[in-house]
C-alpha cells in the first residue's frame, strides 16, 4: 500500500515570502493531520481534518497559516508571509478513522522548510 506522500521535501525561502506544501494521504483515510516539528522538539499538531471538515485548528497561527482539504483527499498547507521561526519540518499524517481503538497515524516523510 502506498504511504503518505508529501512535496516538496525541502524548501528554502526568505522571510515574508509565501510557501505551500502538499500532502496526499493513504487511500481511504478519512482523517488528515498537519504537524510542525521544530528541531529538537516533538511534533505539534497544527490542524486536523475529518474528510474535508476541520476538526481542530486551535494551534494554527491563522494570521499567516491556512490549510484546506477541498475534496476530502489531498491537502495543502500555506504560510503567508513566512517568519524565521517557521523554520521546521512540516509533517502530514493520516489515519483511517478519528475514533476507534485501532487508530494509529501514518506519517509522510515531511517537508523541511528553512526561512532565511
Amino acid at each position: 500500500e502506498a504511504g503518505v506522500a508529501q512535496s516538496p521535501r525541502y524548501k528554502i525561502i526568505e522571510k515574508r515570502q509565501s510557501v505551500a506544501f502538499w500532502c496526499n494521504p493513504i487511500s481511504g483515510h478519512a482523517t488528515l493531520y498537519w504537524y510542525q516539528q521544530i528541531l529538537g522538539q516533538g511534533p505539534k499538531l497544527l490542524i486536523q481534518f475529518q474528510n474535508n471538515g476541520v476538526v481542530d485548528d486551535s494551534q494554527l497561527p491563522k494570521d499567516r497559516f491556512s490549510a484546506e482539504r477541498l475534496k476530502g483527499v489531498d491537502s495543502t498547507l500555506k504560510i503567508q508571509p513566512a517568519k524565521l521561526e517557521d523554520s521546521a519540518v512540516y509533517l502530514c499524517a493520516s489515519s483511517f478513522l478519528t475514533g476507534g481503538w485501532d487508530n494509529e497515524q501514518f506519517f509522510g516523510p515531511g517537508t523541511r522548510l528553512t526561512v532565511l
Partner: protein, 114 residues
Amino acid sequence: AQSVAQPEDQVNVAEGNPLTVKCTYSVSGNPYLFWYVQYPNRGLQFLLKYITGDNLVKGSYGFEAEFNKSQTSFHLKKPSALVSDSALYFCAVRDDNNFNKFYFGSGTKLNVKP
C-alpha cells in the same frame, strides 16, 4: 490536559545490551499510548501501542513497551540493541475526548554504539 514526558534527551547503549527509553504520561481518562520512531530525514513510523489488555505490548523490530498504571509510565524496551536502532523515539498519548488528538513527547535520541 493530556501530556507525555520523555525525561532523557539522549540514551547511549552498546550494541547487544538491553535498552530502555522512558516515557511518563498524564491523562484524564483511559490512557491510549503510542511509540513512534523517526530516522533522519524521514517521517515518524509507528512502533507499538497500548490500548487495553496486557501490560507488556510487543511491537515492530523487536521492541516492546511496559505499561505501568501506578507509575503512569510506558517505557520502551528492547532486550538486545542494534546499531540500526539508532534514531529518535517519540512517545505519544491520544486524547479520546478531543477528536483523538495526539500529544507527542519531546523525543529521545537513541545512540547504539558498536
